[in-house]
Amino acid sequence: MNKRTLHILQRVGFWILIIVIFVYLMFPFYWALVSALKTQRELIQTPATLWPDQPTLQNFRAVLSSATFLRALWNSTLVSVAVTALSLGVGSFAGYALGKMRFRGKTPSLYVILAMTMFPQIAVLAGLYAVIRVLNMPAIPSMILSYMLFTLPFTVWVLTSFFRGLPDSLLQAAQVDGATMMQSFVYVLLPLTAPALVTTGLLAFIQAWNEYLFALTFTIIEEQSRTVPVAIALFTGEVARQEPFGEIMAAAVIVTIPLVVLVLLFQNRIVEGLTAGSVKG
């Protein structure tokens, strides 16, 4: 075998690998989409086909006219937006203090927050439920508050390292001009942190959109407050006795597309946020 054929074989092998990876990553999503476009009759027909015979939007129509599903979409949006806004607000205060100020107890504070990122949600579930009962909180605010268990530590951690990276000279210049710590925060540093805010905000939003354990537990009685993951997990058809997988797949596609768009638009930011802290240098 000469060098040229070897080279060609290598290229072919490489492309096969790339295609296999691509199909592996995308296939379940493709399958959900194709299944959502099939009629009920075709869905239960065996063997399953790779492509719908008569594509129909019937499943999408059914899902989009379901009050339960629309309500869940609204609930999820409300919860995720609120969690993101609160985490960014509270988190940037903490990040500023931890990243740019000198005070006693800074290192322990950082460690407490780092430890929180490893906190198993299940460990606090029963206690959190008790807190919510005492505060007499409905499910939606309960979710907003409790989701900060996983969004806030991460937000604080990333923003702290971001603030630390900003040059001190900026702050000093602002202080020489007579700005207070808070003024230099709001007018000088905060605008500079916009990229980090976008990254952490996106990740907080996606995590909140994804959350299932708390949502399932808190809405066990309050059915009208269920979010998308719970609604889809507990989805039952209006008519069919069998599990309506066509409609479930349609719902799955509908709730995934906005996230995929978001992810594609902010690809680099998200990768940056996901890998923050894991790689030095």
Binding site: Q45, A48, Y111, G127
Partner: protein, 364 residues
């Protein structure tokens, strides 16, 4: 938040450097208060509450204050015993043999019944004898074991696949950006939703993808019940988890790979090292810190697995977390659920600490 800043402002203008430092300290504390109040309400207080409840017996969501029971919940959860199963003797006093195999007595006759009834977790044979492991709550013991097996196997495959994907993506090729975007798709799908997608693909008839493909290739009869057969439940969960989380692993490793200087590879090539040699003597050693962090993240995450187990298997097979949640919501036993949560918490924290010690990862 307006007050503390104005307060700080006055001090800054009127005082010397030490006043300035004090003002800074005060501002910092004010800035941290919201974070710590929230952490207190949603993490530390509930954790304390769970700890306390684990020593009590109480019905969930009832006004009943409950009673102290000491370590009884833990004993119920963790008590394990092992007994040898005697050979089953027939009416003639000879061992019963069916299909050439010696039959053993059922565990029901061997395991203790008073004061607590033990049920079988596993049976196994060793040196010609047969043993049974019994527990008061076999569901929990099995959940712990299953979760650990699930985590080890899933993280192993995620790491290997993630590494392959990351290495493939370091090459420059047309469509690399599209590939990187495709990697984020599984990650962006809601976990509970991805569980339903896989549930649909793994249907027990040929309406499901895997049974269709399996029967077309002659691998099975097209009626494999992936979630019903005990031996296939964990592998199915692992397949779902690997698909969902491999991209995350690949992204972390890709970021790690990008920090390795290109000159090293050039030097190695000049020295005549083949790609495998390059991988094991340059890539892998330099990737250890990234790999360590990625392994910790992923293992901690998979030990907490809840969504896919709860959505697909429900009460037929538990992960640690889905057991504790089910104990709370369906069985309404706050004490047992809390004790299970404490055990999970200790396991995960113990694991994190040893992992970090062994790998010597720096936190900053």
């Amino acid at each position: 938040m307006a007050d503390p800043s104005q307060d700080g402002a006055k001090k800054v203008r009127s005082g010397g450097p030490s006043e300035l430092a004090k003002a800074e300290e005060r501002t910092a504390l004010w800035l941290l208060i919201p974070t710590f109040v929230i952490i207190l309400i949603i993490a530390f207080y509930p954790l304390g509450q769970v700890f306390v409840e684990s020593f009590r017996q109480r019905e969930f969501a009832s006004g009943n204050p409950g009673t102290w029971v000491g370590f009884q919940n833990y004993q119920q959860l963790l008590a394990v015993t092992m007994r040898q199963l005697p050979v089953e003797l027939g009416d003639d006093g000879q061992p019963v043999v069916e299909d050439g195999e010696v039959q053993y007595e059922s565990w029901v006759r061997v395991l203790p019944r008073e004061p607590n009834r033990y049920r079988a977790v596993w049976e196994f044979g060793l040196f010609g004898n047969r043993y049974v492991v019994g527990a008061i709550t076999p569901e929990f013991i099995r959940a712990v074991w299953d979760t650990i097996v699930f985590s080890v196997v899933a993280v192993f495959f995620e790491t290997v696949l993630g590494m392959i994907i990351a290495l493939a993506l370091t090459a420059k090729f047309f469509g690399r950006g599209a590939m990187r975007a495709a990697m984020l798709v599984p990650w962006a799908v809601i976990t509970a939703v991805s569980a339903r997608i896989w549930e649909w693909m793994l249907q027990p008839t040929r309406a499901g993808l895997f049974n269709t493909v399996g029967s077309a290739l002659g691998l099975n009869d097209g009626r494999t019940n992936f979630f019903g057969e005990a031996a296939l439940q964990l592998p199915s969960m692992i397949v779902m988890d690997v698909w969902k989380t491999t991209p995350f692993m690949a992204l972390l490793l890709l970021a790690g790979l990008s920090t390795i200087p290109k000159e090293l590879y050039e030097a190695a090539r000049v020295d005549g090292a083949n790609p495998f040699r390059q991988f094991f003597s340059i890539t892998l050693p330099l990737l250890v810190p990234t790999l360590a962090v990625a392994l910790i993240f992923r293992t901690l995450d998979s030990l907490r697995v809840f969504d896919i187990f709860q959505v697909v298997l429900g009460r037929s097979r538990y992960s640690m977390a889905s057991y504790a949640q089910d104990m709370l919501i369906s069985v309404r036993d706050v004490g047992m659920s809390s004790a299970a949560s404490v055990v999970i918490f200790i396991l995960i924290f113990g694991f994190a600490v040893t992992y970090i010690r062994i790998l010597g990862v720096e936190t900053e």
